[in-house]
């Protein structure tokens, strides 16, 4: 199967997993594990788009590592803010 089609199928699957994990009536959240899963799925999707659709696999390894580090830092920062929000909110008020 062509890599582009495999990438598309993975993106669709991860989107469905995110929808299922983050879905729910009302304001009840997915919990820290769910937040981590949804953010990890988004990170993998972004990485696959960069690697196979934007053809980053053709660039120097430094660029690939740089984009991965950027996406990972963003994901870790968001995870930290969502999991530690009571402390962050109290500190900023």
């Amino acid at each position: 199967m062509a890599i582009l089609t495999r990438t598309w199928m993975l993106l669709m699957l991860l989107t469905a997993v995110s929808m299922w994990t983050g879905h729910g009536e009302g304001t009840g959240g997915p919990g820290p594990l769910g937040v981590g899963l949804v953010l990890a799925a988004a990170n993998v999707k972004a990485d696959r788009i960069l690697t196979h659709y934007l053809d980053l696999h053709r660039a120097d390894g430094g660029w690939r590592a740089g984009f991965r580090i950027l996406l990972t830092l963003l994901g870790v920062a968001l995870f930290g803010i969502y999991v530690l929000y009571p402390m962050i909110g109290a500190a900023l008020r």
């Binding site: 959240g29 997915p30 999707k45 803010i81």
Partner: protein, 196 residues
């Protein structure tokens, strides 16, 4: 289908290959990568700002987010991801000398479907009195999704231009813009619609 695209080299006016330093190893036009880095930084800062604002008032954010249609947002993600796949296929077909215009047309149509679904969402929210002035969640919701929708609209025009003037470099550059729009949305959707 051929999966390895030939690297495109940007050629300067004097016929020499342009030297972009470290940017030279990136595929397509280096200017597009500068734009991609800038957009990632801008949206990344907005995502962090969204999360910090939520930390200050989680009850309002959770109650407001419950008003969004998570399923419709997910369907729109699938629409945009499929559109990105069609653009990637179009570039590969162009590299191997096959017709790519049908795939590009399909990608543009799906871009239009994304905007139509977004318009339905906005119409529903505004009809229920949920506007920019409702609270900080809806201010950020309209700012983030509206700014992204403007990129989608611009992207459809760019795809149309590079489908018509379809040198490989034009096509790769237009495709890179579209994939950037796709990339931003796959990060935006969980943050605005799912996480709470």
């Amino acid at each position: 289908m051929t999966e390895t695209a030939a690297p495109t080299t940007v050629v300067a006016a004097d016929g020499e290959a342009a030297d972009w330093g470290p940017l030279s190893s990136l595929p397509g036009n280096p200017m597009m990568w500068i734009l991609i880095l800038g957009e990632l930084a801008a949206f990344g800062a907005m995502f962090i700002g969204f999360a910090v604002t939520r930390a200050l008032d989680p009850a309002t954010f959770n109650a407001s987010q419950a008003q969004l249609d998570r399923l419709l947002g997910g369907v729109n993600t699938m629409v945009l991801v499929t559109s990105g796949w069609l653009v990637a296929v179009a570039v590969r077909r162009r590299v191997s000398g096959r017709s790519h215009r049908l795939a590009m047309l399909g990608a543009m149509v799906l871009g239009g479907v994304f905007l139509a679904i977004k318009a339905v969402e906005y119409g529903d929210k505004i009809g229920r009195g949920l506007t920019l002035e409702t609270n900080s969640f809806f201010q950020l919701y309209y700012l983030l999704t509206g700014f992204h929708a403007m990129h989608v609209a611009a992207g459809i025009i760019i795809l149309g231009i590079v489908t018509w003037w379809d040198s490989l470099e034009n096509l790769e550059t237009g495709a890179a813009f579209w994939h950037m729009v796709d990339l931003i949305w796959v990060l935006l959707y969980p943050i605005v619609y799912l996480l709470r």
